[in-house]
Amino acid sequence: MYEKNGEKYFVVDTHMHYWNAAPDNWVEGAEQYAKGWIECFYGYHGLGPEDTRWPLDKYQKYSEDDLMTDVFDKGHVDIAIFQPTNLTEWYKEGFNTTERDAILFEKHPGKFVLNTRWDPREGEDGLKTLRHNVERYGCKGVKLYTAEWREGSRGWKLTDPEAYKYLEACQELGITNIHAHKGPTIWPLDKDAFDMTDIDHAATDFPGLNFIVEHSGIPRIDDFCYMATQEPNVYAGLSVVVGALMHARPRFFARCMGELLFWVGEDKMTFGSDYAIWEPKWQVEGFVDWDFPDDEAFSDYPRLGTDGKKKILGLNAAKLYGIEVPEEYQLGYGKPAAQDDAKLVTQE
């Protein structure tokens, strides 16, 4: 939790990782990719404030203690949601698998929500693993990478018949939150892998599922906004949006926030630190202090107040995941109903 100026914020970090990208985990023959990948992440890391940056060797592999301290003790996070990234073709034990995340999930009850992943090209075996993970860890969400190249397949779409089988299984198993990664990818080489029309269709066909587009579709935030405004069950995940822009490019951050508030709205935006790309502490504190620059250029965007920040930092995600939020963090706690609240009624 975070408290500022008498306001209490319940913080759900909806997008974070526990990875091992150290050389001892690099697959032989794929070292350049394993190295290139984590160095690419490290480039993003450099967009955070200077005093929050780590040396590369720690960044490649941080400890359980680092994570618990950075996220919970210093980072103001109440509940953190693991989002797995396998990358087993480059990292021997995977980069950040469900199994690796599960170690911390099981050791620290009440701190984490454990999401898993699936890939429709894994067929019946993949469905079995999905069922197993739900039974064992109570997963309510999945992280999907639609652009992944696999054994000659050039990625997949949420609208593929095989993917619909998995989405149906999600409905049946009680997985309600589909986090889709539509960000940068590598293969296949010629395609614009960020295309989001499949989410549009799947969101219409599965109204009982929530589709959280991570990084808000950056670098296609415009396409994302236009799609999300038409689908009530599509959400904007703010991981990377806050981390990469709020400190390094404050005016662009304000514009992105403006667009998201305009098209998607504060009820459908969720905070994510993307730890360990960046620590949550400066992101949470900076976000609570944030406001649009006092400039005509931002005048046509909706404003974001304390209640909106509370929703984005935790209350929206708590609803999506059925996380119980103590009363003192709820909107309007401890405040008498204002006369203004009845304005519409009295005017009628």
């Binding site: 690419c40 940068p184 590598i186 010629d190 950056i218 667009e259």
Partner: protein, 238 residues
């Protein structure tokens, strides 16, 4: 010596015509040109760099191939050596461009088809973003949004933004004559009218924000990756 300097300026100016298709900005001002050397005999060496090891290879290929083409077209150039550095697909891209092989051949088995469709997609976004750049100052100066509907290119006050918008429209084969409507659907070329105007302007604004935010992230990562200023690099708004 002065002749070499002048020739180098011409090469850099030519490279300034090559844009990152996604960011719609010259590779020079973005800082992507790390080296540009011209010998007295007219042998040119250009080295390009990108913000990450994994930047999309399709866009990277377009930039290297375009750089090769514009430098080759400069008079008095005898030989051209253009190469991308520090990228996971450097070898394939550089060999493919040098052999003028095209993208699909350079990545046989990993890519299907050439990249013109991709380029069109991003030109479409550039036209939308350019529409915001042209219209926003007009609206800020008090123009009634309804007036935009009947405005033509010829009615629009001249500006660098308008010239840029017309160049992008021309690349897409869209009208740029004085009688052409200012607000058009960049996909179809049809004019935008009535209730569709406010949505069109909102999309134009979002497209511009998208491009500018991407550019901001790319510039920041390039700066983290390389501490040096590129040839012809210019700072942006931040």
């Amino acid at each position: 010596m002065t002749a070499v300097v002048a020739e180098r300026d011409r090469i850099l100016a030519a490279l300034g015509e090559v844009r990152d298709p996604e960011l719609d900005e010259p590779i020079t001002t973005l800082g992507f040109v790390s080296t540009c050397v011209v010998s007295a005999a007219g042998d040119v060496v250009v080295r390009l760099r990108l913000p990450t090891y994994f930047c999309a290879p399709n866009f990277a290929f377009l930039m290297v191939a375009d750089a090769y083409d514009v430098v080759s077209a400069v008079p008095a150039v005898r030989s051209v050596d253009v190469a991308l550095e520090d990228h996971f697909a450097s070898a394939e891209i550089n060999a493919g461009v040098a052999a003028r092989a095209g993208f699909a051949v350079s990545f046989a088995g990993e890519a299907i088809g050439e990249l013109e469709e991709l380029r069109r997609t991003f030109l479409t976004k550039a036209v939308l973003a350019g529409t915001d750049q042209v219209c926003r100052p007009l609206l800020a100066a008090g123009l009634d949004p309804a007036a935009l509907v009947t405005m033509t290119i010829g009615d629009t006050p001249p500006s660098a933004q308008l010239e840029r918008l017309c160049r992008r429209r021309a690349e897409l084969g869209l009208r740029t004559d004085p009688a052409a409507p200012l607000l058009i659907d960049p996909g179809t070329g049809e004019s935008i009218t009535g209730a569709a105007v406010s949505l069109h302007l909102a999309r134009a604004r979002a497209s511009r924000v998208g491009i500018e935010a991407n550019t901001g992230i790319c510039r920041g990562m390039l700066r983290t990756r390389y501490g040096t200023t590129g040839e012809g690099e210019e700072e942006d708004e931040g």
